[in-house]
């Protein structure tokens, strides 16, 4: 059974008075411990799909099954409980968090809201989460705005895994990081996936990153699926026009490797 199954998803907006399909008949599935990447140019619908899957916005048509349940039909306590299993990490954690909150506070929220640990147990849980993402437990007392961008993104990942999710939506989660930090965060994500069997919906405009971390890729163009398949196969030999354009536009670094 797949963790997530999206069927015939559609979302329309109006732009300049004209109706416009941001997402148009999109279907895909993600298995446990699998990374599915969504690739495509700006405006291809990647982030709209992320927002639909997270139920931050509602679709005009289609179905989303999450852990075998009709996710769009859930409400109230059932929705809240299921949401703990579905987490997210965005591009800019500074925008996602209250910058003046401490790291401990950011990690305390999900533990409290989802009744994962009692008040007395939470500091120990927080320390364990920080260690899990490669941060010193002493960082808990620091304010979000005081720590580096890489540390902040690790805190965002710690918060995402606090509720033991089966799926994390990563929307351009490594796009703003320096390249040296980016590699470490990708390694961390892979490590967590192996250990916790978490599935990732990995949204990126960067085919190099997708090729490094994703098992499969869906290439989107103007809200529709242009092609999909094994990430390396698709990127090595794209069939769609947009897939070819994305590959051609990716900068090549031609090195004489020893």
């Amino acid at each position: 059974m797949s963790v997530l199954a999206v069927s015939n998803l559609a979302k329309r907006y109006r732009r300049g008075g004209e109706p416009f399909a941001a997402v148009d008949d999109v279907s895909f599935e993600i298995e446990q411990a699998e990374t599915l990447a969504l690739a495509g140019p700006s405006g291809s619908g990647k982030s709209t799909i992320a927002r639909l899957v997270l139920r931050l916005i509602g679709p005009d048509a289609g179905r989303i099954d999450f852990e075998g349940h009709d996710f769009l039909a859930l409400s109230g306590a059932a929705l809240r409980a299921r949401r703990a299993r579905l987490q997210m990490v965005f591009q800019d954690p500074l925008a996602a968090f209250n910058p003046r909150a401490t790291v401990a506070r950011v990690l305390d929220d999900p533990l409290r809201m989802h009744n994962i640990a009692s008040r007395t147990e939470r500091p120990r849980h927080i320390a364990a989460l920080l260690q899990r993402v490669g941060l010193d437990a002493g960082l808990a007392a620091r304010a979000i705005h005081e720590i580096s961008g890489g540390q902040r993104q690790r805190v965002a990942i710690a918060r995402a895994i606090a509720t033991r999710p089966s799926l994390i939506v990563l929307d351009e989660a490594v796009s703003a990081l320096d390249v040296s930090v980016r590699g470490q965060i990708l390694e961390l994500l892979l490590d967590l996936q192996r250990q916790e069997r978490i599935a990732y919906l990995f949204i990126s405009h960067d085919l190099g990153v997708i090729r490094a971390i994703a098992h499969r890729v869906v290439i989107l163009d103007a809200g529709r699926v242009a092609e999909s398949g094994d990430a390396r196969t698709v990127i090595a030999n794209p069939q769609s026009a947009i897939g070819k354009a994305l590959v051609a536009a990716t900068p090549r670094l031609i090195r004489n490797r020893p």
Binding site: E34, S42, I213
Partner: protein
């Protein structure tokens, strides 16, 4: 090739949140006339500070030591000292998430020792309606020898065209204004020039009457480039000019910059965090780290035979379409 400018022992310090930050430390660098030089580095490396220093756009209060010497013969006879033909960057933020040091000047800079002689007239050169705060908070070029840099000699393209363009003025007029200011044209001639420039950046003539919000990110960056080259600068500085764009639009803008630089014989300073992208465009690459120039060389030498371990680390961190996937390295699978 002769030098267009030579930077000697350039250091820049400024205060941020009450803490003194040394953004550049003793940079020595010659920029050759007509070359495409990439300045690469991670956040906090000082690459944007260097770009701003060359353009004379550092905020007042920045402490600048060292010299930037311009080759006088490279420029037309200066009529008066006017600021560069830039669209001011309002947003202090960059696309990068970085540590708390370095980066471009922020509004918290102190008023330093530079005094009023460093004041750019808020009315000269910059676009109308855009000058509140921005222009008068900036200081003139660091101590220069030879010649004052005429404003029309440097064009500057920033990362975020939305913050560079006036949201309530048609873009054609914004480009015309730069031409009018720096080339002493009347409005009619400036508007004709604007039309030509839009054609040169491959935007349809109807774009003249468009407002920035009606354009895509790539189209806005084309407008910003048209404005930057409107006065016919000898030096074009592109500071992460493609970083906010998707891969396909990024490649288009890089091609556009390459063509315009070749057509006009401009010298290019291409500031980027992306060594692979820089290598597709640059003749030479300078690598900055923590405000220091780590390595400078021909692109081919930097990419194929880097001398410095940090340069090698940057190259190794690049995830290209030929790199071994991390998935394989870890032996993980679904």
């Amino acid at each position: 090739m002769t030098a267009l400018l030579s930077i000697r022992d350039l250091s820049v310090r400024y205060r941020r949140d009450g803490v003194e930050v040394q953004a550049l430390k003793g940079i020595g660098l010659g920029v050759l006339a007509g070359e495409r030089l990439a300045i690469i580095g991670e956040s906090g490396s000082g690459k944007s500070t260097l770009a701003l220093a060359v353009a004379g756009l550092l905020a007042r209060g920045a402490r600048i030591d060292g010299t930037i010497d311009w080759q006088a013969s490279q420029f037309q006879t200066p009529r008066s000292v006017t600021p560069p033909s830039v669209l001011p960057d309002i947003s202090p933020a960059r696309g990068e998430i970085g540590s708390s040091v370095g980066g471009p000047p922020s509004a918290t800079w102190e008023i330093g020792e530079s005094g009023d002689d460093g004041l750019i007239s808020p009315l000269a050169g910059e676009m109308s309606g855009r000058t509140e705060g921005g222009a008068k908070d900036r200081q003139r070029l660091p101590p220069t020898n030879n010649t004052p840099v005429s404003g029309r000699d440097i064009g500057f393209v920033f990362q975020d065209p939305s913050s560079s363009l006036d949201p309530v003025m048609p873009v054609g007029k914004q480009i015309a204004e730069v031409a009018r200011t720096h080339l002493d044209l009347n409005w009619q001639a400036a508007n004709a020039k604007s039309k030509t420039l839009l054609d040169r950046v491959r935007l349809p003539e109807a774009t003249l009457h468009a407002y920035p919000h009606q354009l895509s990110g790539g189209q806005k960056q084309r407008v910003a480039i048209a404005a930057a080259i409107a006065a016919g600068p000898r030096l074009l500085i592109a500071d992460e000019a493609t970083s906010a764009l998707d891969t396909i639009v990024q490649a288009e803008i890089v091609s556009l910059i390459r063509r315009l630089v070749a057509e006009d014989g401009m010298t290019l300073l291409f500031i980027s965090h992306d060594i692979a992208l820089a290598a597709t465009l640059a003749d030479r690459i300078a690598v900055l780290r923590h405000g220091e120039l780590i390595e400078l060389g021909e692109t081919r030498q930097i990419v194929e035979a880097p001398r410095h371990a940090y340069t090698r680390a940057l190259l190794d961190a690049h995830l290209g379409l030929d790199a071994k996937p991390l998935l394989d390295r870890q032996g993980a699978s679904a």
